[in-house]
């Protein structure tokens, strides 16, 4: 009884909800990007690596700016961070695209190699950047980090608990939800979205309907990769406040891939799914059973994903299946 009281008072609190959202936003970026990618038939296993690259890219961009000027302005820092994030996650995804779309290499293999590369590059630059640029100490961008953490003025502190629950976050949080909503509208309400889904289901049929399969695959994967890169930037800038932790990002990239399954390839479901995953991700800290059992509770999001995966395959409903050509390269002559 005492145990349950402790658990529930912990879970039904403002801080629990807030940290669930904070954890969830990273996953939401990753999942929105990966859903867009997978809808084109590309299973991008490189997403974890791309998120590392986006994170370190944003940090490098802001760092170079803050080092270059005497009195850095936080918002210019934000712009530099976004630019750096976009550049690195674009380049990372481009490698994947060239390998899998143009060179028709195996997607799983290319993706896993990209993850090895991206995670390595992130940790390498995070650990060695200050040495390479000849400055001392840990690489941090305090001013830019604070700008990323700026909450919505007025709304966050004048609406009582409502404001604390919903307006207590930096702008990237709202951008994540906007992007997920926009991706949903794009995929299910526009002509291009329909074409993209057709490419993911049956590229040969799409090709016959004069849809440029290669172009759609490139666009969806590149834009998806850059959205996922924002997840890394969110983690580095808003969650860590503008610094790098070696391997601090952890397995969030794979969790984003899991969230794609949970959301059944629909970004709008990923919005609440990400908050749920965020809650599951931190649930362990609220379970008063000692440190060892807390480790067991950390598997909650993965278990839930397995259950969803099994349930969707058992039900075999048409609307809830993965894109039919997921994981396959398209070569015209193979039809």
């Amino acid at each position: 009884m005492n145990f349950l009281v402790k658990l529930f008072t912990g879970i039904f609190s403002v801080t629990f909800f807030q940290s669930a959202i904070t954890q969830g936003i990273t996953l939401l970026y990753g999942a929105s990007g990966e859903i867009l990618t997978e809808r084109s038939g590309n299973l991008n296993m490189g997403i974890p690596g791309i998120m590392y690259m986006g994170g370190i890219g944003s940090l490098a961009g802001a760092f170079l700016y803050e080092q270059g000027t005497g009195r850095p302005n936080g918002w210019i820092g934000v712009l530099c961070a976004i630019l750096g994030c976009l550049i690195l996650s674009f380049l990372g995804t481009l490698i994947y695209c060239v390998l899998t779309i143009t060179l028709k290499a195996n997607q799983n293999v290319s993706g896993l190699a990209l993850t090895t590369f991206g995670v390595g590059l992130g940790n390498f630059m995070g650990g060695s950047f200050s040495k390479i640029t000849g400055t001392a100490g840990q690489i941090t961008v305090y001013t830019t980090g604070q700008a990323f953490r700026t909450k919505i003025p007025f709304l966050s502190d004048h609406l009582g608990i409502f404001g604390q629950l919903f307006f207590n976050y930096g702008f990237l949080t709202y951008l994540a939800i906007l992007i997920a909503a926009a991706a949903t509208i794009f995929l299910f309400r526009t002509r291009h979205g329909l074409a993209l889904r057709a490419v993911g289901e049956n590229p040969a049929a799409a090709d016959a309907a004069s849809i440029n399969v290669t172009r759609y695959k490139y666009w969806a994967t590149l834009v998806g990769g850059m959205i996922a890169g924002f997840g890394g930037m969110y983690f580095v800038m808003e969650y860590l406040g503008g610094t790098w932790q070696n391997n601090g990002f952890g397995d969030r990239g794979w969790l984003s891939v899991a969230l794609v399954i949970f959301a059944i390839w629909n970004p709008s479901r990923a919005i609440w799914g990400s908050i749920l995953f965020g809650a599951l991700y931190i649930l362990f800290a609220y379970v008063p059973l000692g440190q060892a059992f807390q480790e067991l509770f950390k598997m909650a999001p993965y278990l839930v994903t397995i259950i969803v995966l099994v349930a969707t395959s058992l039900r075999r409903r048409k609307e809830t299946q993965p894109p039919a050509s997921l994981g396959l390269s398209y070569f015209r002559e193979d039809r």
Binding site: A113, F117, N123, G127, K131, A258, K298
Partner: protein, 370 residues
């Protein structure tokens, strides 16, 4: 009519010479790019850096044996995922299956290390680690065989469940309270450790020759199993086309389950090799991403066990060498992953030039004219 300036055509026949020179060229170009990367971050002569890379990988007897040991582990995991892979079952859960085998091995070493006679202890460790890996792989296998549940994602999730179970035992068994690590198991008695002085007359006082012999035997077994047995033939057919297999009277579900079980069991066995034969402890990073790298190794070697040996050695050589560079130039040791990634990109990309050819439209016209 508008004609694209270049077309991609699949090659009908691929000569051995072409297979070799394309890949050698890819590796050479990747080494050049790596040299550029190393120069960009260290600003020292790449030739010097490559020299210290070689030194780091095979510079001393001890370093050479570590390189051999790591090569054998990577080779074992690659061999493990191969049969499933040839059947088009994407077992990317090697990581989890290794850990499952590793945990059980560590448990036997801890609890029975002093009480059991050595042969019995090893028998228990080997059998139970194989079983643990097997179970970890067969769970997704059952769902794949019966309901076509996506095995790539299922096995991936199983990794994290195994990682959390490992984290759980890391705390339950922790050496010092609050450290969260198990420490070296049986450091004094060395019971349950694979001997590192086997055939010391031949290989020197400190060696991993037992690991070497076991995994090379496994490699030959896998070569024969895939190429010359009925099981291997069935795997190839199911991988090519499930419908063909069904017409030929092959019980597809049975083949899937049997192959996945074998794959998982070998992964579990690798967990035993890692814990008993190399690290003598277990942590969440014991498998160290090898389950993923093995997929790449297996794919690049086109399921040929001997090629796997070559590629595993090359990757481990570069990785261990890069770790040395990183420590010499006080860089982060993730440099080795960056280098590994660059090399992999080039080898993966080079497959295109082995399998396809480019036909330019102007050369086409010449042909027509002639």
């Amino acid at each position: 009519m508008k004609e694209p300036w270049v077309r991609v055509v699949k090659r009908d026949e691929i000569s051995l010479a072409r297979k070799i020179w394309v890949r050698v060229a890819a590796i050479l170009i990747s080494l050049l790019v790596c040299a550029f990367f190393i120069y960009a971050v260290t600003r020292s002569d790449p030739a010097d850096v490559y020299r210290s890379l070689v030194d780091g990988a095979v510079g001393s007897s001890r370093r050479s044996w570590s390189t051999i040991r790591d090569t054998m582990i990577l080779l074992a995991v690659s061999l493990a995922v191969t049969p499933a892979f040839k059947m088009r079952f994407w077992n990317i859960g090697g990581e989890g299956q290794i850990l499952a085998g590793g945990i059980i091995t560590a448990a036997f070493m801890r609890y029975c290390g002093d009480s059991m006679p050595t042969p019995l202890l090893f028998l228990c460790m080997i059998v139970s680690s194989c079983l643990a890996g097997l179970i970890w792989a067969v769970i997704p296998g059952i769902f794949k065989a019966h309901w076509n549940t996506n095995e790539t994602l299922f096995t991936l999730m199983m990794n994290y469940i195994a990682i959390q179970i490992t984290a759980f035992f890391s705390i339950v068994w922790e050496a010092k309270k609050g450290s969260g690590t198990i420490g070296i198991i049986n450091q004094k008695t060395k019971s349950g450790w694979i001997s590192t002085s086997f055939l010391s007359g031949l290989f020197g006082k400190f060696n991993y020759s037992l690991n070497l012999i076991i995994v090379l035997a496994l490699m030959i077994f896998m070569y024969i199993y895939l190429k010359y047995t009925k099981h291997g033939y069935e795997i190839a057919i199911v991988g090519e086309s499930e419908n063909t297999a069904r017409y030929a009277g092959i019980n597809v579900k049975k083949v899937i389950l049997r192959t996945v079980a074998l794959s998982g069991a070998i992964c579990g066995f690798t967990g035993f090799l890692l814990v008993s034969g190399s690290s003598h402890t277990i942590s969440t990073s014991t498998a160290g991403g090898r389950g993923f790298t093995a997929i790449i190794v297996s794919w690049l070697s086109k399921f040929n066990p001997f090629m796997m040996l070559l590629i595993s050695f090359f990757l481990v050589f570069m990785g261990n060498g890069a770790t040395q560079i990183a420590s010499e130039f006080k860089l982060n040791e993730s440099a080795s992953e960056v280098i590994e990634g660059i090399i992999l990109f080039f080898i993966i990309g080079s497959e295109f030039f082995v399998n396809y050819k480019l036909v330019f439209s102007h050369s086409n016209k010449k042909e027509e004219a002639a």
